[in-house]
Every structure is written in structure tokens, then in C-alpha cells.
Amino acid sequence: MSEHILSLMTFFPLLGMLIVLMLPRENGGLLKIATLVVTLITFIISLPLALDPVFKTSAAMHYTELVPWISVGDYFHMNYSVGIDGISLWLVMLTTFIMPITVLSTWNAVDKNVKGFMALMLLLETAMLGAFISLDLFLFYIFWELMLIPMYFMIGIWGGSNRIYAAVKFFIYTAVGSLLMLVAIIYLYYFAVQSGAGANGFSITDFYNLSMHPEMQKWLFLAFAFSFAIKVPMFPVHTWLPDAHTEAPTAGSVILAAVMLKMGTYGYLRFAMPLFPDALQLFLPWLAALSVIGIIYGALVAMMQKDVKKLVAYSSVSHLGFVMLGLFALNSIGVSGSILQMINHGISTGALFLIVGFLYERRHTRLISEFGGLSKQMPVFAVIFMIVTLSSIGLPALNGFVGEFMILLGAFESDLRWFAVFATSGVILAAVYMLWMFQRVMFGKLDNPKNQNLKDLSVREVCVMLPLLVFIFWIGVYPNTFLEKMEPAVNQAIYQITAESQATGYGYGEHSACPQDDVSGAAGKYHQQDGSGYHH
């Protein structure tokens, strides 16, 4: 049983989808309950993973399963090969955790064609989980592409007024990137076969050990990096995101922000960076520069938005810039911070989209100018909104602070010092746009008559927010629960990225004098820094 836990977790939602499809179309409540139950059971199935202490000490893949899947003579071997380490563990947990919350949030929001919506949600969960646990590049690609279909329909059918444009743009942007990645995957496979490493199919762990010529790495890296950069999204291929986020229904926005964007950053960490370490060194300054541009640009554009949802969408661009910068720092503290920030962003921005959803359900508008003084009318809502806002800004003792602080620290310690200096301004700008928005929506006079009899949050809505609030505080106060389990895997990943470029002798930069020392040194430091962090 426990050795099949990942498969069970991944395909249970698919099974649930089939059940949901068989339920009567008219009974929306039943469909919602069934979906909620399926996602809750999926979460329970995944829970033992988070509690397993093995990740504290081992960087290897655990819960692995390997079944030969496609085998075409001596041409191809594709395996159903899955497993998780301390990095994917938390992304898997984030997915299974956020799904029931999202389903709960649709209770009043989705009333047309409930059956289709719920079926797509469950299909999406399978695809997302599958992508996080795949250890075979081909398998990963299948799940990666499969993810597009449900989200396309969710935006297109249940989205806002400009939904068609947003849905098609979302689909085409993401698919174009991944098609080029497909070519790179096939090319990589042939190279692996030539070097005698293709015996296990598209096994990612085998591919790590290939030594490729830098010129070849360069092109393959570009194909992978482009595809993931669209998903993250990094400046300047971020333009699909504000459209998709704004037009998507609340549940779609939450999933997009909380999980699907992490596919891109995860892709960098799991695939693009360790597979092509030399190419990474070559492009590192450019990528870091794009991340910093993303941070500042996203924040500046967010500041000027009139629509709350668009503001949150652009803030995502800014936050994901931080995540990328942390990854590119290539030291333990930066990368750990970046993974933590992926989770933080999932929780905080997910929560923000839910909050926007609450407002929209009540007023059917999201324009900041329509609101004002809501705190008097909706005190519970005000408290929750405040906490989430502060968490998104990165107030100490809340989750956002730990992640951003570690990322900036990591960047300062690496070659990216000057990038970190500029990135820090993003933290200030975040405070500006978030607090300004909060002030305009919640404080001031309650002078718009339409706002004067708004209802405060219902029990269900508080239940939706409560789990998120728990983790906002938990990560803010005691991040070690999460950090200690990702540390071995992170160190291993960094070793793979930095040591290999040296070992092959193809290294471009003078980075990473002694990877082993670097890693342990940084790891030691962040424990100290954390300590100072939460007593702030």
C-alpha cells in the first residue's frame, strides 16, 4: 500500500472524476460535496508523505514506483517512473492541500454547469500531481500538457467577459513553449542513448549524469528554459498571466497562482538547471536580470491597477521573480528560500484570490474605486484580509517574510549581489501597492450605498480561509518544519548544478569554488539567520 501511495494519490482524483461524471447533472450540491470528498481523501492519502521523517536525512527519491510503460523495440523506452524528494514533497502537499479549499470556495461562485467544472477540477488535480511526481521526462511532458486542457475550459467557460481571449492566449503561450521543449527532450534522449544512458528510458536521474558539450547544452537549455519561463511567468513572456488570472473564475485563479505557476519554477529546479549546468552558468546573469526586472516591473504595474484581481495577478509576476532569483543564487539558503516562497506564494496569493472572489460574489465588481470603508461593515473579513495582505508583503512572523528574506540573503551571498540590491526594492514596492489597495478598499468612509449592507464572511468562507491562515503563521513562526525536510534534497540539487559544471571542465564562470563547502556553509548560516528572523 505505502509503496503505491503516489500513484494512488495521483489517480484517485481521476477516479473521482469518473464518479462525478456519473452523478446527475441537476444536483449541483451533490456534485460539489462529492468533489470535496474526493479532494479531501486525496489530501488524506498524501498526508503520510508530509509526516515521513525520511526526508530530513535523505536526498534521494522516495516512494518510487517504476513500471515499464511504452517500449518500442530498440527505439524507445518510456517508464511510468514516479517518486518524490524533499523538494517535490512540499509542492505535492501544496497541491493536495489547496484543492479542497478551492472546491469549497466554489460553493456559491459556480452555479452553471457544475458537473463539468468539478470534473475538470479533478482532472486538473491528477495532471498537476502527476507532473510533480514524474521522474521520467516523457511522463512529465504528458502531465504537463494535460494540465492545459482543464484550465483552458475553466477559463473559457466560467471566466469573465474577456474569457475567450484569455483562454486561447493561455493555451497557446504555454503550448508553444512546451512544443519546443518536446524537441529538446527527444534530442536529449538520443544523446543519452548514444552515451549509453538510455536504458532506463527518459529517466531524469540518469540524464543528470550525462556530460554534454556546452554548445549542445546551450540550445537544449534554451528550449527548456523558454518553456518554463512562460509558465513561471518571467518577464517578458508574462503577458498571458494577467489576462488568464483576471478572467478565470476564482477557483481557477487560485489553482493557477497556487500550483500551476510553481510548475515553471519547479521545472527550472528539477529539469532545466541540473540537466544543463554549464548553459545555466552562461545564461545566469541574463536570467537573474529578467527575474529582477520581473520583480520591479510586476510591482510597478500592480501599483497602477484599478482592478483588485489584476493587481494580485501582477503581484504574482513580482513574487515569482523573487522565487527565480532565489533559485539562481545557487546556494542552499537561496534555493530553500525559493522553495519556501513557492509555498508561501501559493498560500498567500491563493488566499488573496479567494478574498477577491468574496468581494466579487458580493458586489460583482472588482474595481478598487467601488469600495471603501468595508472594515466597518465586515470586521471578520477585514482581519483576515489584513493578515493575508501583510503576509503577501512579507511582514516578519508571517510566511512571506521568511521566504523573501532567505532569497535575498542567498542572492547577497552569491554572485548576484547587485541583483539582490535592486530586488530588495520590490519588497518596498509590495508594501506600497498592497497597503495602498487595502487602504482604499477597507478604510475611509463607507460612502458607496451599495456597500452599506454587505454581509460579513459566512462560516463556510471562514472555513475556507482558516487553513490558509494557520499556515501563514506556521511558516512565519516555525519554518523549520518545512526547511528541514527539503534541506538534503536542496543541497543535493545544488551540488548537481554547481559541481557538474566544474567536473566536466566546461564551466563558463568562476562560480562555485568548492561546492561542498559552499553548501554546508550556507546551510549553517540560514539556521542562524532564521533564528534572528522570527524573533524580530
Binding site: 510503460w69 483552458y152 524537441v183
Partner: protein, 486 residues
Amino acid sequence: MENLVQTAMQNVNFAAIMPSLVLSCFGMALLLLNAFLKRGTTLYAALLSMVGLGATAVVTYAGWNNPQFGFAGQVALDNYAVFFHFIFLLAAALTILMSDAYLKREGYPVSEYYTLILFSTVGAMLMASGTDMMTIFLGLEVMSVALYVLAGFFRSQLKSNEAGLKYFLLGSFSTGFLLFGIALIYAVTGTTNVADIGNQLTMNHHLLADPICIAGMLLLATGFLFKIAVVPFHMWTPDVYEGSPTPITAFMSAGPKAAAFAAFMRVFLIGLGTLHSSWVGMLWVLAVLTMIVGNFIALKQTNLKRMLAYSSIAHAGYALVGLVASNAIGVSAVLFYMVAYTLMNLGAFAVLVLAGKVGEENLTLEGFSGFGYKRPVLAVLMCICLFSLMGIPPSAGFTGKFYIFAGALNAGYVWLAVLGVLNSAVSLYYYLRVMVYMYFRAPEEEFEWVQLKPGATLCAVISVVGILVLGIVPSAFMALARQALF
């Protein structure tokens, strides 16, 4: 004299043409039967044709791993031929499934229609199993003549007439090219047998530079590429596809196209294999042009039938990529892709047949507004076919494209693969647009749907099941495609 008869009889091996014989017999029996039964009902004809196709499948299967040669090297029922036979039988069967309801709706319940489909399939089979240029030509003519009639089958409809005439004129013109090419190659090598042509060219290297030989090769290519509808020989396709009866359009885009591919690959890889360096560059360019022209013009189409016509041009381009690769994986990928394409295209056309009203004025994008709410199951089937045509996993279309581009990369054609996937990216837009209309737009008022017809629905369901099976567990099937290489 006796001696001559004996020698001739020794070469006769009916097992090699058994599938064509059986299917021809059914076709002729059907023709006879028509004379005695009263007009107006066609169901029996459809059923009898299906029985015929089933019987043919059985005798065809006897040739798998049991190659039969006959008629002095003119015909071979090898694995390659058997594989293609099954594609034609599949295409014909799916076409017949969707035809009955369609013919009734359009007011042409004429059972000769089925006879013609059977004869056209016989021609296709001869093309795939022909190992002599003359047999291939014979097969091509049998197939084409039946198709000319089928394209113009609705004799009172202007568009159908135009389709028939256009196809006939341009088709016979291109056949002329093919014949001329055969003649020139014969002039150089002194044989029409494909394998002998190959041997002659391999042994006499000076022939390779002979301009007559090159000219012959180019003319042959023109003849085949016309039937495959490769740019720049594609001009007939959109009009013919739009004007023909919808099931016939579906059939033409799958069966005959696969037949032309079968003969083209046999002739060019075996007969003209030594000329590989002369034709591969040309095919590279044509493959890219075909993908680009097909996809970009499809972007502008508002009639679904016409859009699928242009998309079928683009798909011929993808398949051509596998032939350019000319390696085992590339060629077996072409075989695989032909099956995948047959399934996804016929599935999509079956939905069009079910959705169409009399005269099919409503097969526009606007006509599909809200289809997803009016006919949820059909719309889902359509979506799966479209996703497969796009090449989104897990579908047969994705697996097929994956193998094709893998073949190209394996042969070192990186840019061809890149251009191929970029073209797929372009195609996303027009396939997605169909779904935009089906799901993202409100249904139009006064929407009268014909009843769900069991035949066409079954056709769509079979296609979709096939798409998913080939998409999720393709190994066994890919192994078959691999064994089918000559």
C-alpha cells in the same frame, strides 16, 4: 504454348491478391443485388459492405508474417501491404458507418455509393501491395475513378458537381505525369518492377546522374504528391473536400491518402532508394511548405469542412517529415500516423455528419455555437478528436507526432523537427477556435438537431476509443508498425 501457360500459371498466386479479390466480389455482388431490389433503401447495402470488409480483413490477416508474392513479382502481400490494407479497411468501414444516415438526410439513398467505396478500397489495396509500377498505376486508377464519381455523387448539387469535375480533370492530369514518369524510368532501367529498378540503379551508378532518370523521378513524385495533396499540388483539395459528400471527404482524407503514401514510400525507398540524396532535399522543402501553407490557410477558414481540408494538407506535411527521415523509426512512424490520422479525422467528420442539417449550410463555426450544451457527448468526442489533431497528449495524434519528430531528430533533421512543432503550434489556434464556439459561446436560438444516428455515433465512438488507446498504450501497435516495414 502449353509451356507458356504452365509458366504463367506457376507465377499465379491468388493468395497475394486475395483481399482485393474478395472485396471485388462483394462489390460486384452488391451491384448485381441493386438491380433486383427496389430503390430507396440502402441499409442492406451498408450491411453487406460491412460484411465484405470484415471478410476481407480476415483474408488480409492471413498475409501477416506470411508474405505472399505472385504474378511474376507484380504483387506482394507482405506485412507492409497488410498494414496498409487494414488502414483502408478501417477508413472504409468508418465511412460506411457514417454514410447511411447521411445519404437519407441528403436525399440520395443510392446503394451504388457503397459499391464505389468498396471498389475504391480495392484500388487502394492494389496500390499498397503493388510491387510493379504497372500494378501501382492500375490500383491508382481503380481507386481514383471510383473517387471521381463519389466526389460528384450528389448530381443535382452544384458544389458536388464542381468537386467531381475538378478532381477528375486535375486527377487525370496528374496521372499523366505519373505515367510519363514510369515511362522515363523504364527507359533508363528497362524494367517497371520496383525492386528491379532499385537493383538497376544500384548496380549502374552512371544512371543516377542521367537527366532522364532524374526527370522520371520528379514526374513520379508529382503524380504521388498530387494524390497526397502536398503543396504545391494541393490546389484541388479544399474545393473537392468541401463539395464532396461529407463521408466521402472523410474517406478521401484518410484512405486514398494513405494509399498514395504506401505506394510513394515503396517506390521511393526501394525503387529510387539510391536516388535518396536527390529527392530528400526536395521533400524536406515540400514538407515544410505543406505544413506552413496548410496551417496558415486553415487559420482563416470559417467552414469546418474546409478547415479540416486544409488541416489535412498540413497533416500530410507532418507525415512527409517521417519519410524525409527515411529511417526505420521515421517510416514506421508514418505508418502509425496514418492510422492515427484516419481515426481522428474520421471521428471529427462523423461529428460533422451528425451535426449537419440538410445541405450542410450550418457547418460553419457560427453554426457550432453552443454545441457543447446542446449535444454534450458529441461535443466531448469532437474535442478529443481535435486535441488529437493538435497533438496534445495522451492521444494518438500526440504519439504519432512524437514518433515522427523523433524519427526526424534521429536522422539529424533538427530544423525540420523544430519547424514541425512550430507548425503544430500554429494549428492550435484553429482547432481551439472550434472549441471556443462549441463551449464558450451561447447556443443560438432555433437550433433543430437531427436525431442521433447509431451508425455515425458508433463511428465517432470507435474513433475516440482508438485515439485514446493509441495515445495511452501505443507500444503494441508501434511494434506492429515496425514489423510492417519492408
